[in-house]
Amino acid sequence: MNAAPRPTTAPDEEAVLSDITGMLTRLLEDEYGLDDVEIGMTTTFNRDLELESIDLVTLAGLLEERYGKRVNLAEFLADMDFDEIIELTVGRLVEYVVNGLKATEANATEAPATEAAG
């Protein structure tokens, strides 16, 4: 298992983008044997990465493993309509994650993020 150190303060956009890029790179290699895909904030999951919805289920698991239940991709996407999901960019997901972690940090008075990784 990847024992990435758990952030003690909410990570910024750059750090989250780096995390998510790592997850997508791993997924694309594991499932499709691709190892040369460029990923940035404007990359779309559907058109650019050609991910199938079952790949997003895997990504949801990786996000929860990394950030805990604060980041819930299923709920995030369930609130969108089909066209929004088709147009979804990496940047929009990064923004959702950063905001979710900030909100948790603001709420957490003394409990640091210590839940065990899945």
Binding site: N46, R47, E50, E52, S53, I54, L56, V57, T58, A60, G61, K69, N72, A74, E75, L77, A78, F82, I85, I86
Partner: protein, 284 residues
């Protein structure tokens, strides 16, 4: 990613539950459809709201689909009901469950309810029907068509889909083509053992049938209502076969209401599901 070994193959399972570790009020099992489908059709649509409503939600990829194992053969309806039965045993889900199935997934869900009536609290069929001789003929026609297109015109067919529908649909079609080519699915499903009218009638738990108004399957409504002892039907106008994904909120709402009403009826009667249905048998 959770993989469960049934002894036959590995099935990909996802589970969602109520937040804050509240105990779940009941278990609902969601079964997806054929070829282009996977548990993702539930995961990003109705599953989060079911979990938020207090249900323990179990989703899995059918054999050959999504991230589950893909044996070369063994794709009859009975094989898939066996998988569901083994999966719930492995997960130690032994009490009655609410079954929800989309398209072929509903045929599997109903098959499970017919085989294990004591374990079925309710069934929701979304654009789906119990396995009958007519169902097998329809599946045979559809799957023959798919195989024919793939065998003879795959490149052209995919190019047509790409330019007339979307790249997304073409990608899904490519996946379906692989599944049909690599396995005996298209031969096995039409050759499945089907249910007799008596076996269908013997499913006494509450059944919800939900159809798109523009789908041919909506024509089944009178037949289903006449046959099943406890059946409600809902037709959503303006939708076709993919009503689950197109109108997820409406479908989810109807299914959740069906599940909650079933639970309330059981509590009111103060008896177990099995004995309650005995008392109502005369209306069959």
């Amino acid at each position: 990613m959770a993989m469960v070994d049934t002894g036959q193959l590995r099935l990909h399972v996802q589970r969602m539950g109520p937040r804050d570790d509240r105990p779940a009020t009941a278990t609902v099992v969601l079964v997806h459809g054929l070829l282009t489908d996977s548990l993702a059709s539930y995961y990003f649509t109705v599953a989060p709201s079911f979990a938020a409503a207090g249900l323990d939600v179990v989703m899995y990829d059918l054999r050959g689909h999504g991230r589950s194992g893909r044996p070369a053969s063994g794709y009859t309806l009975d094989d898939s009901v066996d998988d569901l039965e083994a999966l719930l045993d492995r997960l130690a889900v032994t009490g009655p469950v609410h079954l929800v199935g989309n398209s072929y997934g509903g045929t599997i869900a109903f098959g499970y309810a017919a085989r294990r009536p004591e374990r079925a609290a309710s069934v929701s069929l979304v654009e789906s029907q119990p396995a009958t001789a007519g169902w097998a003929r329809t599946m045979d026609g559809v799957l023959r068509q798919v195989l024919h297109e793939l065998a003879h015109n795959e490149t052209e067919a995919l190019a047509w889909i790409s330019s007339n529908r979307s790249r997304n649909t073409a990608r899904l079609a490519r996946g379906a083509a692989r599944l049909a080519r690599e396995t005996t699915l298209a031969q096995d499903i039409p050759a499945s053992r089907v249910l007799t009218e008596e076996q269908i009638r013997a499913v006494r738990c509450p059944v919800l049938g939900l159809y798109g108004g523009d789908s041919e399957l909506a024509l089944l409504v009178p037949w289903l209502r006449a046959l099943l002892p406890d059946c409600r039907t809902v037709v959503l106008p303006g939708h076709e076969h993919s009503v689950l994904v197109e109108a997820a909120a409406a479908v989810g709402g109807h299914v959740l209401t069906h599940i909650q009403q079933t639970a309330t009826a059981e509590t009111d009667s103060g008896t177990e599901a099995g004995t309650k249905t005995e008392a109502e048998a005369v209306t069959g």
